[in-house]
Amino acid sequence: MRYELSDVVDAIPALVWTVRSDGHADFLNQRWCDYTGLSLEEARGAGWQAAIYKTDLPVVLDHCRARQATCVPRAIEAGMRRFDGTHRRLLMHGSPFRDESGAIVGRCWYVSHTDLEEQKRTDALLAGEKQVLEMVARGRPLPTILDAVCAVVEAAAPGCHCSIMLIDQSGTRFQRGAGPTLPSGFLDAVDGGAVTYESGPCGMAASLNTQVIVPDVTSDAWWNAEGWPPWVLAHGFRSWWSTPILSLAGTVLGTLALYREAPGRPTVPHQALIEQFTHVASIAIERTQAEAALRRSEAFLAEAQRLSSTGSFAWHATTGGTTWSDQTYRIFEIDRGTPLTSELVHSRIHPDDVAMFDAMVDRARRDGNGLDVEHRLRMPDSSIKYVRVVAHATRDDTGQLEYIGAVQDVTERRLAEDTLDKVRSELAHVARVTTLGVLTASIAHEVNQPLSGIMTNASTCLRMLAEDPPNVDGARETARRAMRDAQRGADVIAKLRGLFAKRGTVTESVDLNEATREVIALSNSELQRARVLVRTELADDLPPVTGDRVQLQQVVLNLLLNASEAMRGVDDRPRQLVIRTELDDEDGVRLSVQDAGVGVDPQNVERLFDAFYTTKSGGMGIGLSVSRSIIARHHGHLRAAQNDGPGATFAFSLPAVGGVDANGSSGSRDSTACPEIL
């Protein structure tokens, strides 16, 4: 039983021994012997006393005797020499030895439970680690944190100086990290140095991703070959231990190095210390770098939002909770931090857009579809802003509907578009007025015709009234004809004024057939004068299009006059012009003007639509350019193509209002039923 108990006691990870009141030990466990480096034979009797600090030995012996007298368990602290010659403070717990009846017999158990210095060291390291991690959590500057790491390491490893070098973003250069106790100039020499295995122990550790131990620079063949020892020795160091600091992903972030004035290798506790604090340093570096990256990203985002006048927002559809970015506050001209109430947001919506805005919000709550709307804001100074709101619906952690979106101030764009519209409108007017010159003779004809009728009928009327008796019925009829002709003249003037007066863009439903007939009537005389035979093939029941009637008529007029011009020199065939309306393949409305003129060069057909490009001697070259621009703004496209036979065809398609019915009847065209030769 005795031997079995001894085996058990040997297995306890603590120093266990018995000592009598006279100071003689008769049992010491194996761990006690290992710890002190004394054999059991050497330690027995009074031999154990050689392991106790001389200054502490009387206290320990007195304690043994006092314990025997009081039999009260107590603990004392005493110093012991360890197997490696180092002295450690140990806490010794003593308990009296009792027999089976519980009576105290003449000796005590003394059990060293704790290596106090190890405990103190562990406590200090834990406190240091906690302090560093708190600094990380509080967002302290990285140099300050790394200085603290070095300080903790140096406190736990007396005789050592600690440095931390960082690797820059390129991964090729060292950056100063920390080294609070290193000699002046030491870190300066390393700062900015290349991260290569030849640049020093830290460079080797970082580039090879392994710990580099230089026990004695004076005898190290590699570093002697590199010429390092004089420089290192000049700073007072003989040994240098560098360890890479690794990120969670295994990337080398930097190195933690310990330097000693004496030669030597790191002990087990040194290695534990290095392992612990390279890890802490990696946490600090990664966290700081991540925070810096986040701050940089947020700064970029904020700057991008400011530059693009785009703010972001999150809106919880159920609770109405709203989060805005700084730029969104700026767009709405609301001070950041002001509670975002529905009333406050509504106060910024333009009164004319409130109903639309509320309908959009209701729809978003109900349908959960994405948003893409443009509305106006009215600022406190009554200025108007145009904003575009784009958002997509998502679900939060609890499954509730939430919108994440952007609001862009598009005021400048809208104002620029308005200005552009105005310029386009003026250019279109210039083009129309230019056309007016071409039509002067035709216009004179259209006015002179009814004027002639008026004069002739008036003369006839006077003659009839002068008869004896007066021919009143005849006079009445001729007066009626004179009035009819006067009305025709007035209609011509009204149409001219409508087509050539300066005006803004008016969007309305336009019957393209009717608009085309008016243009033909206005230009008919001109076309006739040019000996152009006009054939109209206008589709029955053509659906209306949405647009500016005058601008569309301008395009048709331009195409008619261009076609006439293209046939000016044609004498060997009829100067036939066909103007046709029909449904196109996409249920839009197509208008084409086909001539029998000189045709177009397929290679240069697109150049015809360039501004100031003209094939006519007296042309400005803006007609087709303006026409294409007008059609584009009506969501259509104006194209030109060479005919299979002589001449060319210019055509445009526009979206129809409301499309056509299922039978397509609204687009049916009966060209044989409605040929009209003018």
């Binding site: 003779a441 004179a444 004809h445 259209e446 002179n448 015709q449 009814p450 004027l451 002639s452 009728g453 008026i454 004069m455 002739t456 009928n457 003369s459 006839t460 003659r463 009839m464 005849g474 001729t478 004809r481 009819r484 002709d485 025709r488 005389s525 006739q528 004068r529 000996r531 035979l533 030769i677 003018l678």
Partner: protein, 123 residues
């Protein structure tokens, strides 16, 4: 019984075809109106007309075209051209080809009568 001179009017304008014959009738002329040169050529009036009031610009066969066709068919009808275009008349050519006068719309009653009487005298 006085035989009234037949004045034919050829013009694609309905207003002219209505008003001009009425006025000429007030001065004792017999009148006929035609909407096109082709219609006039196809009518019996082509051989009876003593004065032709003819519009210059008409679809297909124009006034000068009709003038040439009548000459080709050897009809010597005095012609008074009328037109609403001031810049399309090659007056010397028309007069050289036998036209009596050219009137620009709108023209006065007196100018019309002077031209018609001149045509009748020429015929």
């Amino acid at each position: 019984m006085t035989v009234r001179s037949l004045v034919s009017v050829v013009d694609d304008s309905e207003s002219v075809r209505e008003s001009l014959p009425d006025l000429l009738q007030q001065y004792g002329f017999a009148t006929q109106a035609f909407a096109s040169a082709e219609a006039f050529l196809a009518s019996e009036c082509v051989g009876q007309t003593q004065c032709l009031i003819l519009d210059i610009a008409m679809p297909r066969m124009t006034g000068p075209d009709l003038q040439r066709e009548l000459a080709r068919r050897r009809y010597h009808i005095p012609i008074v051209f009328i037109t609403a275009h001031s810049d399309e008349i090659d007056r010397p050519t028309l007069l050289g080809a036998g036209a009596v006068d050219c009137l620009f719309k709108p023209f006065s009653e007196a100018a019309l009568l002077d031209a018609v009487h001149a045509a009748l005298r020429a015929g």
